[in-house]
């Protein structure tokens, strides 16, 4: 029996910087003097009512730019961030009120490696197993298996301080899997991984999911969300702005294709003319350029060029993108995920 995740109207306002479990790499540690002052000035709204239902056995993605509220959502679901309002459940357990029961069910890979630097790679896994009450023989065996699977065996008995970022990340994932959790949280797991390791990680995630485990993954990489997730919630400014399977989300973009055009000038009359072209579903001004959503891509270009030329306007630049979650995000927010 798998375990699902549920949140209802989850809200979080940070009253003191910096949120440890949810802060980005840019934050430095604060001290006691600063904290008292910061507490009054900083009221950062991170979540504005996030309601999600992740089914048991699902790979669910939270997709959004940095600062969208993804890590805060994970922080609350993993008992590390106290919600300002709303409810969060892992299976039947209220994450805030039944922390120990919730912690027993989850494995967490944080955005930045947080390995125990006083221990060797193998000891990190073995002690982690011990924290979860695994018997000694099981711990040894499982640690060896995971070290092998994550290609860490040659350096298993070294302290991890000198490990590369990729190795630390692999060990973090191995550690999260050590106690065979029903729900696995991965906060930006591919950040800083080379393409090969990323594929290894994706394979491991799929395999783990194949055992009926629930996986919640946050990412700002639409390829990762598209490839890996059964369903995706796109979040921005602490709100869910779109939710569905990657295919359904992509299909929901008007037209599907996005043509980003730059002309020598972009008068309103041109926008009206573009709207009348066959296959075009929506035309928007985007800064100095014009975004055209259409059901076709390159085959629309001759008509666009002809329309512009008739009005003595030159087409300077064209960028065509196929239906993607990136386009969806752009459509909803007017911004790129990478911004």
């Amino acid at each position: 029996m798998g375990v699902g995740i549920r949140t209802h109207d989850l809200r979080k306002i940070y009253t003191s910087p910096p949120p440890m479990a949810a802060r980005g790499a840019a934050f430095a540690g604060g001290g006691f003097g600063k904290k008292a002052k910061g507490a009054k000035s900083a009221n950062i709204v991170a979540l504005e009512g996030i309601s999600l239902e992740v089914a048991p056995g699902e790979i669910f993605g939270l997709l959004g730019p940095n600062g969208a509220g993804k890590s805060t959502t994970v922080g609350i679901l993993t008992t590390r961030v106290r919600p300002t309002g709303g409810e969060a459940y892992i299976g039947e357990f209220d994450v805030w009120r039944q922390q120990v029961e919730a912690k027993r069910l989850i494995g967490v890979v944080q955005q930045r490696p947080n390995l125990d630097f006083s221990l060797t790679a193998r000891e990190i896994l073995i002690f982690h197993g011990a924290y979860f009450g695994m018997p000694s023989a099981d711990r040894q065996r499982r640690a060896s298996e995971l070290l092998e699977q994550f290609q860490l065996t040659p350096r298993a008995d070294e302290l991890t301080r000198g490990f590369s970022g990729g190795m630390m990340q692999r060990l973090s994932v191995a550690r999260a899997l050590m106690h065979d959790p029903q729900v696995l949280f991965l906060d930006e797991p591919s950040t800083g991984l080379d393409p090969q390791t990323r594929l290894l990680l994706w394979g491991i995630i799929r395999e783990y999911n194949g055992q009926g485990k629930t996986i919640l993954i946050t990412t700002h990489n639409m390829e990762e969300a598209d490839e890996l997730c059964h369903r995706v919630a796109i979040v921005d400014h602490g709100k869910v702005i779109a939710l569905g399977t990657p295919a359904a989300l992509k299909a929901s973009i008007p037209g599907g294709y996005l043509l980003q055009l730059r002309f020598s000038s972009a008068p309103a009359s041109l926008i009206d003319l573009l709207k009348q072209l066959p296959g075009v579903t929506e035309v928007r001004e985007n800064g100095p350029g014009i975004d055209v959503y259409a059901d076709r891509g390159g085959s629309l270009i001759p008509a666009i060029v002809a329309t512009a030329t008739e009005n003595s306007i030159d087409l300077h630049d064209v960028h065509i993108s196929e239906p993607s979650l990136e386009n969806l995000f752009l459509h909803h927010t007017g911004r790129s995920l990478r911004q």
Binding site: Y14, M20, A21, T79, V100, E101, S118, F127, A130, F132
Partner: protein, 256 residues
Amino acid sequence: MNAKTFLALFARDVHVARRNAITTLIQTLLQPLMFVFVFGQVLTRSGMMAASYKGMLLPGIIAIAMTMTGVQAVAMPVIAEFQFTREIEDRLLAPIRTEWIAVEKILAGMVQALVSGAVVALPARFLLGSDLGISTDHLGLVLLIALMVAVFSAAGGLTLGCSVGQTQIGLMFSIVLAPMLMFGCTYYPWSALASFPILQKLVLLNPMVYASEGLRGTLAPQYPHMSTAAVIAVLAVIDIGLVVTGLWRFQSKSVT
């Protein structure tokens, strides 16, 4: 409480402390032993201090070793683990209430403080010579006071560790630990401050005073010392206060 998890957390700290045993011992014991040598040998043999000073010094040296070890054994890792390495997170996610993780930290610090007190006593006694007049008549009380000293030093370390940032470690040493040492009645009995009445009242806020005076009153009662009953009563209050504060600070530090 989840006993298996608690024991595993404790085993982790013991494992790490054993691995770092040599450096930890040097770090905490070298300074008190040098003091022993300078004050107990150089100054007494040269006649600049009375030989009786040696017996007065030993309880203070044990108090220093215990307190400094307990404070540092908890505070330093807590500061580092909560800051940029965030190593503590794996343990915060262990299936146990956060308070127990803090209790485990205190317990591990206490063990290290007690070991340190025992370890410094032997070479110190050797360095000082045999004619110290150290009494073993009140061993039970010595152990009780040592235990209470271990509690406040480890709990104080937790409180400090959760209140101080990485960049303020140096400051912590110079504005908290150094005055604690110098005004902790370690190198002199509390009664010696009689000619500084205001200071004598102020140092009563320093937990180290009760550690030194308590150990002096039980190990070397022939020297002036505070009433042992009063010391135990005050230590009990300090212990409870610092444990409660430490747990509260740890709790608020571990959740955002």
